[in-house]
């Protein structure tokens, strides 16, 4: 067995260390790991430059093939043909799989990808495998991503003629903290040190802030505040941000994101073209993989063409007796994906609402990401924003990685004599964080879109007489009523609550997100009077959950029922 391509680092390597402290600053590179494509950029001393691989590509396909003993990724590997990607040997869409459990609908939807995604539906990490010499060789999304990142790192090292260690990565808005730990883990395996994980549209917002500042300089103006709406839709995720920028400072007003993207458009179309695709593919035989691969390539190709022409002819022989010959037009494509587009619209509306910004007050509407080339996507963004045209001056595919490179330079303490790095992003929390209380409900303590760093405290009380223990179960999510619909971050127990009738003891729970985006949960039962012996309070860094956390909440419920529940302190009337 050959040496593994990645270095195994302990989980703590990327977390316990000081986020940045070096006497000689190394400029961190920006990486945009897309669901389908990936790019790397760096501040070259005067501007942002995208790095190219040996085949002169700025955009590299995000996949890893396990064809030979040593796996190889899309950075260096030259595919002899697109179909090689679909032979079962390649793992891709890592970003849609990482940090998700096998009950997640997004994982379920990934089962029709041309490699093995197996789900047990019990809330553990899905089993994924690549086909090597007619054997399904198992791997994990983290491992696949790490192998890919190792190649990226090597490529960047050669281009920059120096070892690369520090990175700023862009991530989807909807990523929970557990998913972030998995990304950090993959980076640590690849020997990369994460300076910052930046929600994709906020990276675009930083580039926008820089451009606005330059414009203000050129006009000798004071640079009044500008509101920008950023819509970013790639292959895997759709994100929206509203930023208020002035003087190079980008204050994020609100974020909204969800797991929809080009992959959904593709899957919907495949399903439309071949309604029994899933049953056909369920056995994962070699000929089925080949068939689904052929269908995938043909459909993808058709969708691309529909961005530039009104209709497209699809002719594909799936090799198992079924052939597809069809003329597909834009209207049909838009009808099949109606729900995806509706969801995009509601995401923009939600973000504007959360930002408390009227659409008329938006100065610029910026659409980026691969899907922004789709006419319907452009139209819906313009329509919701009541605009005639989109912001010009950004390459839709390079905006996020460029913003990440700017942040990388700023975070490395680099300054620019012309003030081009005189930049700052003030981030907000993309998801609400709170605890389970009030009978299984999610009670947010830090609301969504709270400026970071943030610290909020809330008081709870007991539900039973003489209840001396309370479970603190911490969740993160978009604020769904039912706690279990959110992402579990961790749990612990408060003991030694003074015996008292229900509703009397006060249990305070405090959440703190520090400048490095580390979340700490503090909890303690309050004691009145000087004679009560106080119990130590708890401090827990979260997330504490590991893989397979899907059934933890259920297990806790089975073990404790409602005996250790809490309720919010109700307002007296």
């Amino acid at each position: 067995m050959a040496e593994p391509a990645y270095t195994v680092a302990s989980d703590s390597e990327n977390t316990e260390e000081e986020k940045s402290s070096s006497t000689f600053p190394e400029i961190a590179i920006g990486i945009d790991i897309g669901t389908s494509q990936c790019s790397v950029a760096v501040w070259n001393g005067s501007q942002v430059e995208l790095l190219k691989n040996t085949r002169n590509q700025k955009m590299m396909r995000s996949y890893v093939t396990f064809k030979d003993e040593v796996p190889s990724g899309g950075v260096s590997n030259q595919l002899s043909h697109e179909h090689e990607l679909l032979s079962g040997a390649a793992i891709f869409n890592m970003k849609r799989l990482i940090g998700r459990v096998d009950t997640d609908p997004v994982v379920h939807a990934s089962r029709s990808l041309p490699f093995l995604v197996q789900t047990m539906d019990i809330g553990v990490r899905p089993f994924i495998a690549a086909l090597v010499n007619n054997v399904w060789r198992s791997t994990t999304p983290e491992e696949a991503l790490a192998i890919f990142l190792v190649e990226l790192r090597a490529m960047a090292g050669i281009q920059l003629k120096r070892p690369v260690r520090n990175v700023v990565l862009t991530i989807p808005v909807s990523f929970g903290r557990f998913q972030l730990t998995r990304i950090e883990r993959a980076c640590a395996m690849a020997g990369l040190h994460v300076l910052r994980l930046m929600p994709e549209p906020t990276a675009v917002a930083l580039l926008y802030a820089q451009q606005q500042q330059q414009t203000a300089h050129d006009n000798m103006g004071s640079g009044s505040e500008k509101i920008g709406l950023i819509f970013n839709m790639g292959a895997g995720y759709c994100d929206v941000a509203v930023t208020a920028t002035a003087g190079g400072v980008s204050q994020i007003r609100a974020l909204a994101g969800t797991t929809i993207g080009g992959e959904d458009l593709l899957q919907n179309m495949m399903h439309h073209l071949l309604p029994n695709a899933e049953t056909l593919f369920s056995t994962h035989g070699i000929s089925e993989i080949k068939a689904i691969g052929l269908l995938r390539v043909a459909t993808q190709d058709a969708i691309h063409k529909l961005s530039f022409q009104a209709s497209v002819q699809i002719d594909v022989d799936l090799g198992n007796g079924s052939k597809i010959n069809k003329v597909l037009d834009r209207q049909e494509f838009e009808e099949v994906n109606k729900k995806v587009f509706e969801k995009c619209e509601s995401l923009i509306i939600q973000c504007l609402h959360d930002a408390k910004i009227e659409v008329e007050d938006v100065n610029d509407v910026i659409a980026v990401g691969g899907c922004s080339y789709i006419p319907k996507v452009k139209d819906l963004v313009l329509n919701v924003c009541k605009r005639q045209e989109l912001y010009k001056g950004m390459n839709p595919l390079e905006a996020a990685v460029s913003g990440a490179a700017l942040e990388g330079a700023v975070a490395s303490g680099i300054s620019d004599p012309f003030g081009n790095l005189d930049l700052l992003t003030i981030q907000v929390t993309p998801l609400a964080i709170g605890i389970r209380a009030d009978g299984g409900k999610f009670v947010p303590i830090i609301a969504r879109n709270t400026t970071m760093p943030a610290r909020k405290e809330m008081t709870f009380t007991t539900v039973h007489d003489n209840q001396t223990e309370a479970l603190i179960i911490v969740y993160e999510g978009e604020g769904q009523q039912n706690a279990e619909e959110n992402h579990l971050l961790g749990y612990f127990k408060i003991v030694g609550i003074p015996s008292a009738p229900k509703g009397v003891p006060e249990i305070s729970v405090c959440l703190d997100i520090d400048a490095s985006n580390v979340l700490r949960v503090y909890a303690s039962a309050k004691h009145r009077g000087p004679h009560q012996k106080a119990m130590p309070s708890m401090e827990v860094r979260m997330p504490t959950v590991d893989d397979g956390h899907g059934w933890c909440a259920e297990a806790l419920h089975r073990a404790y029922g409602s005996t250790s529940d809490l309720v919010t302190v109700q307002k007296k009337i």
């Binding site: 609908p105 997004v106 995806v340 309050k526 106080a534 307002k571």
Partner: protein, 293 residues
């Protein structure tokens, strides 16, 4: 739903912000928040007493980080003192010893520890008054963040990075407090030594009746247009009471001012509630993909 229930829901729903503010406000004497690990927090009287017990020039009023999580560095306004009277005239920059550093030392640009005696108005270079609508708060906020934000000082010492985190958080608090009329009103009264107890029960019968009427109107609202109508009525009322507050505050009629704040609080809650309920179109990341196929 009985009227009683309705009222209860109206008052308790979306009151979490008020509750948060309450618990975040250690100057509220009704709330005995005391933790074992917390050093005795200096009270107003001890501040004026000559015995230099808990703080000196170096420590000031900055509580330590760590266990002391309730008497916290990010809590706004541990002690509210009006303006310069309390500023230590002999304060010096911890780094270069230059006299009278502010949030940042003007000679060596080092970030200073939080000085709680500097009030939010001073941070923004504003006169201490309620009507500050036209001031460029946002621009000044961003200017401060460019000097103080922890993201920008990573090359500095650990000590200074902590100061940056504290100062930056305090500037965020200051900005949020002064931006919104209601929290600004509560804050200016606090500076005058008047604490508004937001948990207080409503005793004014006309306000009770009005709240219930509004509540009914919200429930019976047929469409979003009707809700918008109520929403703008609320905005009008808030504006009206905001003006009354401004007058009362100027005349130092604090009783009247507190009444105005109470009114504003309830109208504010109604608007929050309407805007929450109109969010049924919310997007939830629940795996759209699978359901569509």
């Amino acid at each position: 739903m009985t009227r009683q229930r309705q009222l209860r829901t109206l008052l308790s729903s979306s009151s979490s912000s008020a509750r948060l503010r309450r618990t975040l406000n250690p100057s509220n004497p009704n709330l005995p928040i005391e933790f074992a690990a917390k050093p005795p927090s200096p009270s107003l009287s001890s501040f004026f007493s000559p015995s230099p017990t808990t703080y000196s020039n170096n420590h000031r009023l900055l509580p330590g980080r760590g266990l002391d999580f309730l008497g916290n560095r990010r809590l706004s306004g541990k002690i509210f003192l009006s303006s310069q009277s309390a500023r230590e005239l002999d304060s010096k920059c911890w780094n270069c010893n230059a006299a009278a550093p502010f949030l940042v030392c003007s000679s060596c640009r080092c970030i200073q520890p939080v000085d709680q005696s500097v009030d939010y108005f001073q941070i923004f270079g504003l006169e201490k008054k309620y009507d500050i609508e036209d001031q460029n708060l946002d621009g000044k906020y961003k200017d401060w963040q460019k000097k103080l934000h922890p993201d920008l000082v990573h090359s500095k010492s650990k000590k200074e990075r902590e100061y940056a985190a504290d100062q930056s958080a305090r500037v965020i608090d200051a900005y949020c407090t002064l931006t919104k009329p209601l929290s600004r009103a509560i804050y200016v009264l606090k500076l005058e030594g008047v604490n508004v107890d937001e948990e207080e029960t409503i005793s004014e019968l006309d306000l009770l009746a009005e709240i219930m009427e509004i509540r009914e109107a919200v429930e019976e609202a047929a469409d979003s247009q009707a809700l918008n109508q109520i929403q703008s009525e609320m905005q009008e009322k808030i504006k009206h009471w905001s003006n009354l507050f401004a007058n009362a505050y100027r005349d130092r009629n604090f009783g009247e001012a507190v009444t105005a704040i109470r009114r504003m609080t309830y109208y504010e809650r109604v608007t929050e509630e309407i805007s929450d309920s109109s969010r049924n179109t919310r997007v939830v990341d629940n795996g759209f993909a699978a359901r569509m196929s």
